[in-house]
Amino acid sequence: MSFPKTRKEMPLTPLSLPTVGSMGKTGSWRTFKPVVNYSTCTKCTLCWIYCPDGAITRREDDSPEIDYEYCKGCGICANECPVKAITMEREEE
């Protein structure tokens, strides 16, 4: 079964269908954004496991990729990274 990609594609039914972004693009909540330093990343995938928003996806080689559309910038990934390869940087205008 394929899920609707956005809210606009949701059919008009009394039944809720699962959709990514049920509250819109939550990335706009963010004041600090996580930035991955791929040269020090050990690909342990802990950031991917702990992310409450599922905003981190794994690439082919297991290194993390952050989805800035949904990342709320909580900083859990930066805090839990064992080698501190993720830093929180202030969002620019």
Binding site: F3, R7, M10, T13, P14, S16, L17, P18, T19, V20, G21, S22, M23, G24, K25, T26, W29, R30, T45, W48, I49, Y50, C51, P52, D53, G54, A55, R58, D62, D67, Y70, K72, G73, C74, G75, I76, A78, N79, E80, M88
Partner: protein
Amino acid sequence: MQIEEWKFTAKDIAEKTDLFMSGHRACAGCAPATVMRLILKAVRGPTIVTMATGCMEVVSTIYPYTSWALPWLHTAFENAAANASGIEAAIKIMRKKGRIKDEHVDVIAIAGDGGTYDIGIQALSGAVERGHDFLFVLYDNEAYMNTGIQRSGGTPLGASTTTSPAGEVIPGKLEAKKPIADIIVAHEIPYVATASPYYWRNLITKVRKGLEVEGPAFLHVFAPCPRGWRSDPAKSIELSRLAVETCVFPLWECISGEYKLSSPSKVIAMAPQKKKPVKEYLAVQGRFRHLFTPKYEKLLDEIQRITDQKWQKLLKKCGIA
């Protein structure tokens, strides 16, 4: 009774699609949201989730949207377990009558601490007594967070909430946390366990065990809430580790009445010097800020004493010490 342990690698769960999708409106740094993602990594086949009112219901399912990529039912605050027993009974009879495909369907009921400790306990007690085959997951963020941080039966001693505010008169909540997991153990059900999201492998294994066991299973998951605990959103997962390391929330499982410490807590039981003082856990949380003022300093020692006492009691139950 022996339950076979599900052996998995990080890759196994990585290949599973996320059944709890991005874009829900949980606060930044919400540990319960991590817990939901991890729980759904352990499902093994057709699964139905039913959920009591609570933070995770409010943030993930605002009509007409839902973040759950599996059958999900909302129910009132008090009857997550009653709903689960109904679903389980319906599946049983529909399979018997040939109305649905004859295959096993897992039922998971999820409720917060308000929906379990206080409002939902009679439905839960009834459902486990009747022996329905379902898994009840309690995600414990230690107060009614979605309605505005009111105290619940799960709020620990000395925590400041909006209905037990710390100030001139009282030092936060005056009563201790209700031992909910022990209450469920007393129902003599096949599987009861506690888990913490920091120890994610342990958590997923326990969810899987709870699903595999025949009959009711209960899982108490610790889930820090940065909003209600007045802590740094980045520290949610760290707090779930500190709670285990200070023995505030030890990890154990009870299979058919036999207590067994899980490895993160067993390490501390074997090497007591690794046990951290409770202060370390309390100091990171704003809801315990008043305990570090001269007026309420004594309560800190009291909390440490109670924690040690409970830990010793647990060790005895597990046959250690």
